[in-house]
């Protein structure tokens, strides 16, 4: 292990003033150790959760985790869990290529909503006026197109004028939310400001095998495979990785950085738009400003926790969804507010975020007193 440690401070130079702790970066930590540290972090978080939860519910920790398992996997809830899982995974896959490029797209929420809004607008606008299959085709194009547009706008400004993409994409979320609110007001003539299944009847995507969520599950499964291949085995994926590591290197080897930024964000936005399309056209047949339900933000954490690896994302997305579905059940059982899941999820995230440090760095404790004694002798 000591071979790959770069020492921060030459020990001889500051022998008298050795700090009590030195931190050094390490590379090439073994896979086993990496997994071990992460598992330890999740375990520590669950222990902390099981200390806090009894304080507010009065139940014993083990039975609480039993309730959580029931909440996520019981017969009545398993399909709902699967649906939440594929949606979160899909959006996480969408943001991944951009993140790999170090383009901080925190606008997935808005890109999903843009796709959903375009889908709903087509269903309301064309439904009944043209054959249903035409409606379906137009809404697929519109949903994916709108998501793409929402992703490309900040990318163009980033590529040409270095406009801060984090802040730009963040603002676009709220523009999309207000556009949805506006749509709700104009689309519904009855004045109830909701657009639900009774309005969105034409052009719905097909229900496969008699199971409402099957289409989403199949599409996201294919998407996972596609993104994996795209990121690791395609020229585009390679270019994304190079731009993410160093734009100057990318330019030097002849990669058109502007083109890569815009193309990658177009892909990111398109997948978000697709998720919006599925949410409206295949799942709920309704739209409101809370349709993406914060998944656009959660996806960022899912993707980052998996180190942008689409296969690991299956695990991290499953963990987050299990936590939130499980905590929903806990809060129903004890008559508590359902936001309890956000607290537990937050705690787990803090631990996993924090444990990365122990993977990337090594901490040495220097025995200061011992050192002083040696000097005195």
């Amino acid at each position: 292990m000591t071979d790959n440690v770069k020492t921060a401070v030459p020990k001889e130079a500051h022998a008298g003033k050795t700090p009590w702790v030195t931190i050094t970066k390490r590379d090439g930590v073994g896979l086993k150790r990496r997994i071990l540290i992460r598992v330890a972090a999740i375990f520590a978080a669950l222990v902390l959760g099981s200390i806090i939860t009894p304080l507010v519910t009065g139940d014993n920790p083990l039975s609480i985790y039993g309730t959580m398992v029931k909440g996520a996997f019981s017969e009545y809830r398993i399909w709902g869990t699967a649906q939440s899982f594929v949606m979160l995974l899909g959006i996480s896959l969408a943001v991944t290529p951009a993140f790999k490029m170090k383009f901080w797209n925190i606008g997935a929420e808005g890109q999903v909503l843009a796709g959903a809004l375009a889908t709903a607008a087509v269903m309301v606008g064309l439904g009944g006026k043209v054959p249903d299959w035409t409606v379906t085709l137009v809404m697929i194009a519109a949903g994916i197109g709108a998501g793409t547009l929402w992703g490309v706008i900040p990318a163009v400004f980033k590529a040409f004028w270095k406009t801060n993409e984090t802040l730009f994409t963040l603002m676009l979320n709220y523009v999309a939310i207000q556009l949805v609110e506006y749509f709700l007001k104009i689309a519904d003539k009855s004045g109830s400001n909701t657009v639900g299944p009774s309005l969105l009847t034409h052009g719905r995507l097909p229900v496969l095998f008699g199971q409402q969520y099957m289409l989403n599950i199949i599409i996201v499964t294919l998407l996972t495979a596609f993104i994996y291949v795209y990121m690791y085995y395609s020229k585009h994926g390679y270019e994304i990785a190079v731009v993410g590591e160093s734009e100057n290197t990318a330019r030097y080897v002849g990669i058109n950085v502007k083109k890569v930024i815009i193309r990658t964000m177009a892909l990111s936005g398109a997948i978000c738009g697709l998720m919006g399309l599925l949410l409206v056209g295949a799942t709920s047949y309704s739209i409101d400003a809370n349709l993406a339900g914060g998944n656009g933000f959660t996806a960022i954490m899912v993707s980052w926790l998996a180190k942008f690896n689409p296969l690991l994302m299956i695990l991290t997305a499953a963990l987050i969804v299990f936590m939130s579905r499980g905590a929903e059940e806990v809060s129903t059982k004890f008559g508590l507010n359902s936001s309890y899941s956000d607290i537990l999820t937050g705690i787990i995230l803090f631990f996993i975020i924090g444990c990365e440090f122990f993977i990337n760095y090594e901490v040495h404790f220097n025995r200061r007193r011992g050192a002083k004694k040696e000097e005195a002798e």
Binding site: I106, L167, L170, Q178, F297, W304, Y340, G346
Partner: protein
């Protein structure tokens, strides 16, 4: 007519004040190079902490005006300090990614607020029918309804609680410290180039911790103002809305200057409620509420096009500093 304009101005100021607190805190934090996207969560925690403190005090029975202000304020500061310290520890000491950490803080903070907001009465077995601190709120807030016969300046001043003035003073002080003092100069150096600051003997870690924690506490006061003054002490889940994100938008709009933030927050507040005062159809309300974000995007684009040094984000914004990697 003048009374109507003054009423509008007062409402705009009340709308803008929570955003001003949040933006001032975020400016201070960002000047050290930390892009804290946890601000909405921190404001939420500040809000629920003051509610918890106030609720405990109010349940005691007797209310002393001084304690009624001190207890919620201190619990608000403590709550927001703890959450911003978690952010600071994760990003500064453990060098975790700032965006991810910030979003996790927001998830946690909003969940924490909604959970205790929705369950506090059940947890404490209180007999209160719903979570409200109206008695304490009266001490914090200004006069809600001003009679028509009152002179015009009263229409502007009476509705404003003392925290409105506190927010302005804090913004001016932060602006002064950043621009005119040695501490501010060193803080800006940390945000622009931590390696250079480190080489010059500035304690980068200390500056980052202090500005993140103090910034978080200032932002938390926005939550205190919102619950105690703006919403008259009545808690309802998610009522705070997107004000936390508006605060982050305001930082850009104000090009990282707290003094511009004061005016900007009132403009944002005014845009937010303008639909009440001009004749637009109900349908247009969302379009009006979109304006602060659109304006912010326009400012963001213009500043990146003009590339003037004074209006750029701090150069190291969003990046963590590790001495070994210079």
């Amino acid at each position: 007519m003048i009374n109507g304009i003054m009423d509008f101005a007062a409402r705009a100021i009340l709308q803008g004040t929570p955003i001003l607190f949040g933006a001032t805190g975020e400016i201070l934090t960002e000047k050290s190079g930390n892009l804290n996207l946890g601000i909405p969560g921190i404001m939420y925690v500040g809000m629920i902490s003051s509610v918890i403190g106030g609720f405990a005090y109010q349940s005691g029975g007797n209310i002393n005006p001084a304690l009624a202000i001190i207890i919620p304020t201190l619990s608000c500061l403590l709550g927001s300090l703890i959450v911003s310290f978690i952010y600071a520890f994760l990003t500064i000491t453990l060098r975790a990614n700032q965006n991810v950490t910030g979003l996790a803080i927001t998830t946690f903070g909003v969940g924490f607020g909604n959970f205790f907001g929705g369950s506090l009465i059940k947890i404490t077995n209180s007999s209160a029918p719903y979570l409200s601190l109206t008695k304490l709120s009266r001490i914090f807030s200004g006069q809600k309804i001003v009679p028509d016969s009152a002179p015009w300046y009263q229409h502007l001043l009476l509705p404003l609680g003392f925290l409105v003035y506190v927010s302005v003073v804090i913004a001016l002080v932060v602006g002064f410290v950043l621009k005119r003092t040695r501490v501010g100069l060193q803080l800006r150096a940390v945000g622009e180039s931590p390696a250079t600051a480190d080489a010059a003997g500035i304690n980068v870690t200390k500056y980052k911790y202090l500005s993140t924690c103090i910034g978080g506490m200032i932002a938390g006061l926005g939550g205190l103002f919102y619950i105690m003054d703006y919403s008259s002490g009545i808690w309802s889940n998610d009522a705070f809305g997107d004000r936390g994100w508006l605060a982050i938008a305001l930082v850009i709009f104000a090009v990282w200057r707290p003094s511009i933030g004061i005016i900007g927050s009132y403009i944002f507040g005014g845009l937010y409620i303008l639909y009440n005062y001009i004749s637009v159809s109900m349908n247009m309300i969302p379009i009006m509420q979109m304006l602060p974000y659109i304006v912010t995007i326009v400012v963001l684009i213009i500043t990146s096009l003009r590339k003037r040094r004074e209006t750029q984000p701090p150069a190291s914004l969003g990046l963590n500093y590790f001495r070994e990697e210079r």
